[in-house]
């Protein structure tokens, strides 16, 4: 497939890929009711996709919050507005950094492992074996991973934001001496549950979760059953997910505002 892509026009190739991806989404959605029998598999995938991503998400969230706190404190100090550190950290994290950074990390950590796993399952005939055992591989392999990604992303994003605010608090309040109450009161005064947490955080991360896991599952499922094909598909997952996240982020921001 890669060789053929090279000869095609890049734009036409990408469009065709998006089209195939969309058709694959239809297959996933139509198989979703059937996959309800495989609920335990979804739970298992939720652990692999979400639970095992917690460490990286929490670590990165902490450092993003800390660096935000540090930078904002010094910039805001120029205007004598260091008490706004808390609210700016929270708003930046809820509206943009939380969903986007979590999405990029999620694509790198969970997306690649989904693609590689499904790709290897195809390369080692496990997908064919499932068909032979009268188990629908879309319902058993693709849908649980897709659903797991969809559920895990908002939860991971919340954890990320919580850690970021903790990190921002650590730097701004504990190290740089912003008043604790001011930090929180300013934050609570400026952050709105609906606009920032629900619309900003939850919506965006849900969309990102759906897109990343769709791309990951699709790339894995349609990979050439060779080690080269799996490597290529894994790369495609990261590249396509990253582009999709950043492009969709703009669209969603414009749309939600």
């Amino acid at each position: 497939m890669s060789a053929r892509m090279g000869h095609e026009n890049v734009v036409m190739g990408s469009l065709a890929q998006i089209g195939r991806c969309g058709l694959f989404l239809l297959r996933i959605l139509s198989a979703t009711p059937r996959s309800m029998r495989h609920l335990t598999e979804t739970v298992r995938q939720l652990w692999f996709v979400g639970g095992l991503s917690l460490t990286i998400i929490m670590t990165c969230g902490l450092f993003v919050g800390m660096v935000l706190g540090l930078q904002l404190y010094h910039v805001l100090a120029i205007f004598g507005g260091t008490s706004a550190t808390g609210s700016v950290v929270a708003l930046a994290v809820y509206r943009e950094l939380g969903p986007v950074v979590t999405g990029l990390l999620f694509a790198g950590r969970a997306g690649t492992s989904i693609t590689a796993e499904i790709g290897l399952m195809r390369a080692t005939d496990q997908i064919a074996a499932m068909e032979m055992m009268a188990v629908d591989p879309i319902a058993y392999v693709a849908v649980p991973r897709f659903l797991a990604g969809l559920i895990a992303m908002p939860l991971l994003c919340c954890v990320f934001c919580g850690m970021s605010i903790f990190g921002g608090h650590l730097v701004a309040v504990d190290w740089l001496g912003v008043d604790n109450g001011t930090f929180w009161s300013n934050m609570t005064a400026n952050v709105n549950v609906w606009d920032d947490v629900i619309n900003g955080l939850i919506w965006k991360s849900l969309v990102f979760g759906a897109v990343i896991s769709l791309i990951a599952v699709f790339q894995g499922y349609t990979t050439a059953p060779t080690s080269e094909g799996v490597a290529y598909a894994t790369t495609r997952t990261v590249v396509a997910s990253s582009i999709a996240i950043l492009a969709l982020d703009f669209v969603l921001t414009a749309f939600l505002m």
């Binding site: 080692t124 005939d125 496990q126 074996a129 055992m133």
Partner: protein
């Protein structure tokens, strides 16, 4: 013709292939192939590499469909089955993949239990009993907690066999079951195929190259080449039927009806030696 096939399907042949024609990427894989798999026997399908032996198995299971002709399995035309009916049929067919295709996420026990868990709601005790019985049958009950990555090729194939027979199928398809096995493992698999056929009466179809192994186990051998059955008979006598195909295949000759050279344009012309070109 269809009527006659249906009338006969109840008796001798479990699988009946009539006039199967398949073209893949411009290459004719099957050319009006006719083939019967008798009930309760071990049938071997042999042939040079690339003649579509594995493709034939995929036609029997409905993973692939021919361009013309019919494949009848237990009186049903596979190509006309709905998805659900096809899945129902597949539950009664065991398939042993060339590379075993065990699910890498699960240990041996869960791999064998997988079809049971997916298709039944049996209590855990019963599942355990069935799985351990099947594992005992292939001699790997002690390995039930190992992961697939910890198994040797022969063990993995036996686990896959246990998984294939967990539903007591009417038909087992073995895709190259002897490839890459040492003589001990090969004989273990051979013994299993024979035992399963004799004790459970399971119809077996083997795709393989190894004539010595086939001789020990098969009741009937089909030799396929050029998309057709070129020879058939019992394994002891098929090599001596006088056809150039059989003498090349079983004699292991490098050149013959199956050419040494892949079809190409004129050699001399390709090198620029042809007189007309000068």
């Amino acid at each position: 013709m269809i009527d006659t096939v249906q009338a006969q399907s109840d008796d001798r042949a479990l699988v009946r292939i009539r006039g199967l024609t398949t073209v893949l990427n411009g290459k004719v894989v099957f050319d009006k192939l006719d083939l019967d798999i008798p009930r309760g026997k071990v049938t071997a399908i042999m042939g040079p590499s690339g003649t579509g032996k594995t493709t034939l198995l995929k036609h029997i299971t409905g993973q692939m469909r021919g361009d013309a002709g019919q494949v009848w399995v237990a009186g049903k035309n596979v190509a006309e089955l709905s998805r659900d009916a096809l899945f129902e049929l597949r539950e009664r067919i065991g398939y042993l993949f060339q590379n075993s295709a065990l699910l890498t996420d699960f240990d041996v026990f869960e791999n064998v239990a997988f079809p049971l868990r997916q298709h039944t709601k049996l209590p855990e005790v019963l599942i355990r009993n069935i799985v351990l019985t099947k594992l005992q049958a292939v001699g790997l009950r002690g390995a039930s907690s190992l992961m697939p990555s910890e198994l040797s090729g022969g063990m993995a194939r036996r686990v896959a066999l246990a998984r294939a027979i967990v539903f007591d199928p009417m038909l087992i398809l073995y895709d190259e079951p002897f490839v890459g096995l040492d003589p001990i493992a090969l004989n273990q698999v051979l013994k299993l195929i024979r035992t399963l056929n004799e004790t459970l009466g399971i119809t077996s179809v083997l795709v393989a190259h190894e004539l010595e192994a086939i001789k020990q186990v098969a009741d009937l051998v089909y030799l396929i080449a050029n998309g057709k059955v070129v020879a058939q008979g019992d394994p002891k006598s098929i090599a001596d039927n006088g056809s150039p195909w059989t003498s090349q295949f079983f004699g292991g000759e490098a050149d013959g009806p199956v050419p040494f050279q892949y079809p190409a344009d004129d050699y001399a012309e390709a090198l620029g030696f042809k007189q007309g070109a000068a």
